[in-house]
Symmetry: C2
Subunit: 164 residues, 2 copies
Amino acid sequence: MDFLRHKDFLIRKAESKDLNSIVKLLADDPLGEKRENYQQPLPESYVQAFERISSDTNQELMVLEHVSGTVIGTLQLTFIPYLTHQGSIRAQIEAVRIKKEFRGQGLGDFLFRWAIQRAQDQGARMLQLTTDKQRPEAIEFYERLGFKASHEGMKLALLPKNDV
Amino acid sequence: MDFLRHKDFLIRKAESKDLNSIVKLLADDPLGEKRENYQQPLPESYVQAFERISSDTNQELMVLEHVSGTVIGTLQLTFIPYLTHQGSIRAQIEAVRIKKEFRGQGLGDFLFRWAIQRAQDQGARMLQLTTDKQRPEAIEFYERLGFKASHEGMKLALLPKNDV
């Protein structure tokens, strides 16, 4: 199941025409606005990243589209092969956003139920994500879906290569 | 820098001849022994996973080898392309083990300093990992290296496809 339709909404793979809408969604958020750079034309780094994602068969960058054609949500699903758990594939979710005006209608739930099903269909035995401790409402949302906060999500920021 | 030598130890990419030693390391651990299945011959699922990892250019499965030729440590470094952080690549570490008899000599530190440098060389702006909250000594180790436990690491176990 690589797309899903529900009432007035469709989940499908992102195409290059969606890039602008996705970056706008990523930037429209208290944490996102500090680290993204949404402007026209879109910085080249986003275009290059979109090409890297699209050409990697382990990446599934998805959009949630309203019947009007407007992109109102996004999520990136990644498959990673490991030796652990007897040679398992893990699925990982990152870069989740639902447009502000569309929150509180169960659309995040809809998007995640797609991702859980998709991960299972692809043979993943574990679905994982990290969520900033500054987003308590997100943690509760994931717990309602059955995720357990069993791990610490540890991050180390690296300097740009040229500054080293 | 895709390998590194230090005193009597060498960090290098894993080859198929190392698979047995790596799985043995993964299984020799209080959490690992519950979920791995180290036996001879090695279950086919590990062999298939090794092939998936080796053929994926975003995966770097490494071993730490003693000068005697014995594999005494392992780590998997993964590169993931994202749109977030202005189209960044993130590096992720998983499946870290140092053989019991070789702990407490700074070898974990040696292996991680390689991984941090490698991630930076490959242009990653973030290095991340999740660690089980049941391993407080591991959390302290990562904090000493500069990692911040800023996120919750959330996991959802999935049923095997055939059971669904």
